[in-house]
Amino acid sequence: MRFPVFANQCVCTVGNRRGEESVVTVEAPVARLAALPGVSTASGVAAVAEHAQAAGRLLPVRPELRELLPSGGLRRGSTVVVRGSTSLLLALLAEATATGAWAAAVAMPDLGLAAAEEAGVELSRFALVPRPGAEFASVTAALLDGLDLVAVAPVDTSSSVARRLSVRARHRGAVLLSLGPWPGAEVDLACEFAEWSGLEAGYGQLRERRLEVRVAGRGAAARARFVKLSLPGETIAAPGFSWREWTEEEVG
């Protein structure tokens, strides 16, 4: 039977908070204990528990986007910043809404909803509050209470309001996505480089975009890394596309 050694719990946290020196002094006995068969440290148990909890509390994203997020999905209670690409935001919402989660977009009057549908967002579970005005914070808070994903476009959001909303999201197990800077976000996805294909001197049409996304943030995402992906993904582009629709017009 495995049981946690509770005496070590506080030692570990102290070690983490105070810095290297104290860690060195307590590391040896913890390691010795942990090496014993059947004994696991409190932090080890906590990590396993957290992982199990997180696995059940992840909102799914499309397979090609999993690499962007440290936990492979949108972790409930987290705040995610998406900068420089609305379609990346829509792509992140797609899989979760398609599998039954509810989402809302606050203060985004210019959101392209045809693009949202093409990205795979289930529009019947996607509510829009385009003009919250001065009630931005209370509207977002109310939505975080009831919905799984809330996307916001922050306009002059003070850092205290932002922090309060992030805390609200954490308490309610909702995911707060921000299309723009947001203090204290767990994950920060910045679209740094984009290259379109499909246009050719008057012919063709915008078809696909290769993005390079800089992933930064706190915790597991603390070390910045770059992820390449293309939008819209292969799976989405195919079905609705038809040449006939516009060649007819060209002729007629």
Binding site: G84, P109, A114, L206, R207, E245
Partner: protein
């Protein structure tokens, strides 16, 4: 024996209402469509071969000049109010069954006017005179039989209802407000082709084979009252009254109030194990004017159904200029109730489709709360209709309203842009200038080509170099619409990062380029 009823029926009401709303003369063939199928068509269209349930394409092939309208229950109800009011001038106890159908208890009125025939004549004159609408009248025992009598313009003698119903086809059970398609289909396959044949079965057999729904249909087929006789007058405290401050003057505000009121009302009834089948809507205006109307429904009303009826009633009142001032008190009264579980309806969830799981309920509560904060017209969901431009395809529906497509998105739309659509579509398009390599403004020529390949685009500040471009895609202006024809191009602008835009220009005398969307 069920009460004797007079039913006044306006044939093809949805079409009549749509034609009146669109100001179309009645001699033109018209039809109302929902989900690409004919819901109702005018008599002229019917003679041309258009039938209910027909696809739009088939209907138009039989009758090319057919006018096509979308279904709109609010419009139907709104325009029906004058008819109900006209009937009410002569008789009391008017109940609106649905827009297009009014029921009146006949006994008292017939005695007063000297016979049922006299009353029917009077009503026909009154309605065509006051409301300008053709209608038919039928009298029989019970609402169902009276409705069928109205379809045939007959007066059924008292006690002869069963004989009247017996030779009629079994499909008559399938009335628009109750879906019995499956039952009717089953009965027909069992060889029961007339109401009489069905009525000849014993009640016991029917219950054991078809359950409560079958029992209800069986009662109708036998000419008994449409509801089991244990209906009762509800204790009065189940009605709810709401003082409105400030008074209601606008329909959207009324719709919002109606929604919350309907929830409370329904919950109050449900707590007593009841559901409402006849709803009394009473309003008192600021000037003390009292308005009231009773809505009757074959099925127990859901919260959504109650809210809809309150909204329709308001639309009707406000349109006819009924109240001279805002409504300050609104009262909902359950005029008649049934035991909730006798009709096997999900009472606790209210039976609203799509809102039956906990998560959806939670989301709905949050969104209604936001509506409470910002007003009813602040939370939307989007419905994608057919259309060419990325903005044209999107229709925002206030949260809580029905999400129905108005024009089919799967039809071919010449000039429609292919996927992907721009992820940002500006609500108010922003002006731009498109220049060619010599710095001259690029325009669209009459032969649908650009005067020169675009080389730079000015978006307020410095001109940005065009890396690649495609187009133009043309869109014809709609018939009679003020906006003329449009042309769109896609451009890819240099910069860090690259910027892909959808630019639109009008192709009239004074062209102006605007940024319609950004592929970001």
């Amino acid at each position: 024996m069920s009460a004797r009823m007079l039913v006044l029926w306006c044939p093809d009401w949805p079409v009549v209402a749509a034609a009146v709303a669109a100001d179309v003369p009645a001699h033109l063939p018209a039809a109302v469509f929902a989900a690409n199928r004919v819901v109702a068509c005018s008599a002229v269209a019917r003679t041309a071969g258009v039938r209910r349930g027909m696809r739009r394409r088939d209907a138009q092939s039989r009758c090319p000049e057919l006018l096509v309208f979308g279904v709109d229950e609010g419009r139907d109800a709104r325009l029906f109010e004058p008819v109900a009011a006209a009937v009410e001038e002569l008789v009391v106890g008017v109940e609106v069954v649905r827009p297009g159908l009014v029921a009146v208890p006949v006994t008292g009125a017939a005695g007063y006017f000297g016979g049922e025939l006299k009353l029917a004549e009077l009503l026909l004159d009154q309605v065509s005179g006051r409301a300008g609408v053709e209608c038919q009248i039928g009298v029989a025992d019970g609402l169902f039989a009276a409705t069928l009598a109205a379809h045939r313009s007959t007066l059924v003698e008292p006690g002869a209802t069963a004989e009247f119903l017996a030779p009629l086809g079994i499909h008559e059970l399938d009335q628009p407000d109750v879906d019995r398609t499956e039952l009717v289909d089953l009965l027909r396959r069992l060889g029961l082709r007339t109401l009489g044949a069905f009525a000849a079965l014993t009640e016991r057999d029917v219950v054991s084979r078809f359950g409560s729904e079958g029992l209800l249909a069986h009662r109708l087929a036998r000419g008994l009252s449409e509801r089991p006789p244990y209906r009762r007058r509800p204790p009065p405290e189940l009605g709810i009254t709401k003082e409105l401050d400030p008074p209601l003057e606008r329909i959207d505000a009324a719709a919002f109030v109606a929604k919350t009121l309907a929830e409370t009302f329904h919950a109050g009834l449900a707590a007593h194990g009841l559901a409402c089948t006849r709803l009394g809507i009473h309003a008192i205006t600021e000037h003390g004017e009292e308005l009231s109307r009773v809505w009757r429904c074959a099925e127990p009303l859901t919260p959504q159904g109650i809210a809809d009826r309150v909204r329709w009633q308001f639309e009707g009142w406000l349109r006819t200029g009924g109240p001279a001032s805002g409504v300050s008190v609104l009262r909902l009264l359950p005029e008649e109730t049934v035991e909730g579980n006798s009709l096997q309806l999900g009472l606790w969830r209210g039976g609203t489709p799509g809102l039956d799981d906990e998560q959806a309920d939670k989301a709905n509560r949050a969104l209604v709360r936001v509506q409470g904060l910002l007003g009813p017209d602040s939370v939307f969901t989007a419905v994608l209709d057919g259309g060419r431009g990325p903005a044209e395809r999107v229709r925002l529906v206030p949260w809580g309203d029905r999400r129905a497509t108005e024009s089919p998105p799967e039809m071919p739309w010449p000039g429609r842009l292919s996927q992907p659509s721009p992820a940002t579509v500006f609500e108010h398009a922003r002006p731009a200038r498109v220049l060619d390599s010599l710095g001259v403004d690029v325009e669209v020529r009459r032969r649908r080509q650009l005067t020169a390949p675009p080389a730079a685009v000015v978006l307020g500040g410095e001109p940005r170099e065009v890396l690649e471009w495609a187009g133009p895609w043309h869109v014809q202006g709609r018939w009679g619409a003020a906006a003329g024809a449009l042309a769109r191009i896609q451009v890819l602008l240099a910069g860090e990062p690259e910027l892909a835009l959808l630019l639109t220009t009008t192709t009239d005398k004074d062209p102006q380029w605007t940024v319609e969307g950004v592929y970001d």
